[in-house]
Symmetry: C2
Subunit: 370 residues, 2 copies
Amino acid sequence: MSLPAAHPLNPVSPASNAPASTADSALVRALRGESSAHVPVWFMRQAGRSLPEYRTVREGVAMLDACLRPDLAAEITLQPVRRHHVDAAVFFSDIVVPLKLAGVDVDIVPGRGPVFGSPVRTAAAVDALPELTADQLAPIAEAVRLTVAELGGTPLIGFAGAPFTLAAYLVEGGPSKDHLAARALMFAEPEVWERLVMKMADYSAAFLRAQVLAGASTVQLFDSWVGSLAPAVYRAHVRPASARVLASVADLRTVDARSVPRIHFGLAGPEMLCDLRDAGADAVGVDYRTELADAIDRLGLDVPVQGNLDPALLGAPSAVREAAADRILAAGQRAAGHVFNLGHGVPPTTDPDVLTRLVAHVHAWEATER
Amino acid sequence: MSLPAAHPLNPVSPASNAPASTADSALVRALRGESSAHVPVWFMRQAGRSLPEYRTVREGVAMLDACLRPDLAAEITLQPVRRHHVDAAVFFSDIVVPLKLAGVDVDIVPGRGPVFGSPVRTAAAVDALPELTADQLAPIAEAVRLTVAELGGTPLIGFAGAPFTLAAYLVEGGPSKDHLAARALMFAEPEVWERLVMKMADYSAAFLRAQVLAGASTVQLFDSWVGSLAPAVYRAHVRPASARVLASVADLRTVDARSVPRIHFGLAGPEMLCDLRDAGADAVGVDYRTELADAIDRLGLDVPVQGNLDPALLGAPSAVREAAADRILAAGQRAAGHVFNLGHGVPPTTDPDVLTRLVAHVHAWEATER
């Protein structure tokens, strides 16, 4: 397959052996609490089914195969940067990719999600989970290298699923509405649960480290299902595992010899925000159901925030959508840094032009006190 | 839409065939903020797949057919009362039953949920939704009469789905993970949304009135999906519809010539609790993710609460489960009234003996200051 070349209107730095510095990018500056000329913006799931060029390159290629082919993963990661002029790429992958690379029997069933050959609910099943080696991560490192070579000064966000979300899939054997089996294991056999969730942390940690070592400038840990937990249960049974993942990249440095900002996003209510921060995040991604101003009050003014337009507004009249975006932009000014984003992923049915116009709107927005 | 008129015998006459008084039952007393000899307990989805006697009577009978056969609905409603000695029956039905009775093309697909012939997303589709007449509700009234005749002094809780949850199914055309299409309609075409959600309110109101007129002593409005909304969005676009349902039974009286306590349950975080109360509830059902003590702090000491053991604890060792139940029971003492329940429905895989023992445990529990 021949992949499309870079969009002529979005020139990127010529490829070289070492990744370019992203230290002055709006995204990295916002995540470090430094000011920049505009509010940076990217979208969770920006690489994916909403883009016709994505549907073209994915034709006949299964999801996990697309994740494991370095040229294809890099191309898909770059597509939304070329099209929308967002301030960051997010590595195209799936949270189960590290498990797949390690040899776990998992597939992604279209319209359903990750499905495992057998659920993991016993100590023996946990112990039988294979190790993930650096060699096995080679396709990921290669995809990241290809991506950052083309991105130039635009940062790449490394991607990994949080241990609870991964473990919830494994315990259920696939997607579930309420993640009841995961909580049941947690309460009935807390030692087995802890071994499982810590093993998930190790997979995600290895996955993130490989991406940073290959050139990702920042990382985001995604905890899609954490909202099914009470905060006290999260703190007791889950947060240590998420903290292990976030800590795993603390010793790594970018090409600028600086630490790697870590974003932590959970699809959860406002009462979970401080727990996400306290897992060791440098910035917190905010769910669409929380007022950004409330999130900032809870987290404190020194914590950069990311978010949080309701994706349902992407189908609303532009005046309605932009008014909501403006309220979020205004609220974000109070935090140490603000990265504009949705409060959940881009729906597959989104009109991509709406996203492009939203990026331009955010970039043109003028803060009153900047 | 025509609501069932008050029956001539309702509210006053204690006719020979009138339902027995439930005014002194522990449930009704707790919901009125009156003390009783023990903490009342029932379980959301107590009538259902966890019971072998349920699976026997449902054999070969489709879900909606079971709901519409009065003898069968009554039998299923009574089964958990006989087995577990819970303090209340909850009417066995499904939230889409009023739509089905009105003639809407809907079926319940096993393992999936309610599926509609076509999604309702336009003003024309909303206007085409059929009226629900009192005649069509006859099988519901008959099932309730059969049930309360056997229940005696044990109260029957009337059951209805909240307008948002119903509308979310209709807009999506079936179950969905994030109810995005419902929010998209709300934001893109607020007038169409309002007509839809108010029409859902009328269906649920007629459904609840029929149950109360036939002998239900109290009602619960279930809003399973309300957690997908930000509180401000709930207040603007949904709460008026839920308030309409709760208000619809305000003029009805029990055989004791008293008002009908209204419980409002939403699967949502703590920040939604006061909104559920302010929709016009007399008592609020609390989701398993909120500490009951926190819920009481938010709602105020004068609001009876219901809940909220995590159903995932039903599979835990009994000492773990009972310790969690005891914490909830102790916290509940501070509220005007406390009805013990789960914080979500009984999972189909639950061992029914665990529920029976949990009822005995709650009944034997001694409050320190009672």
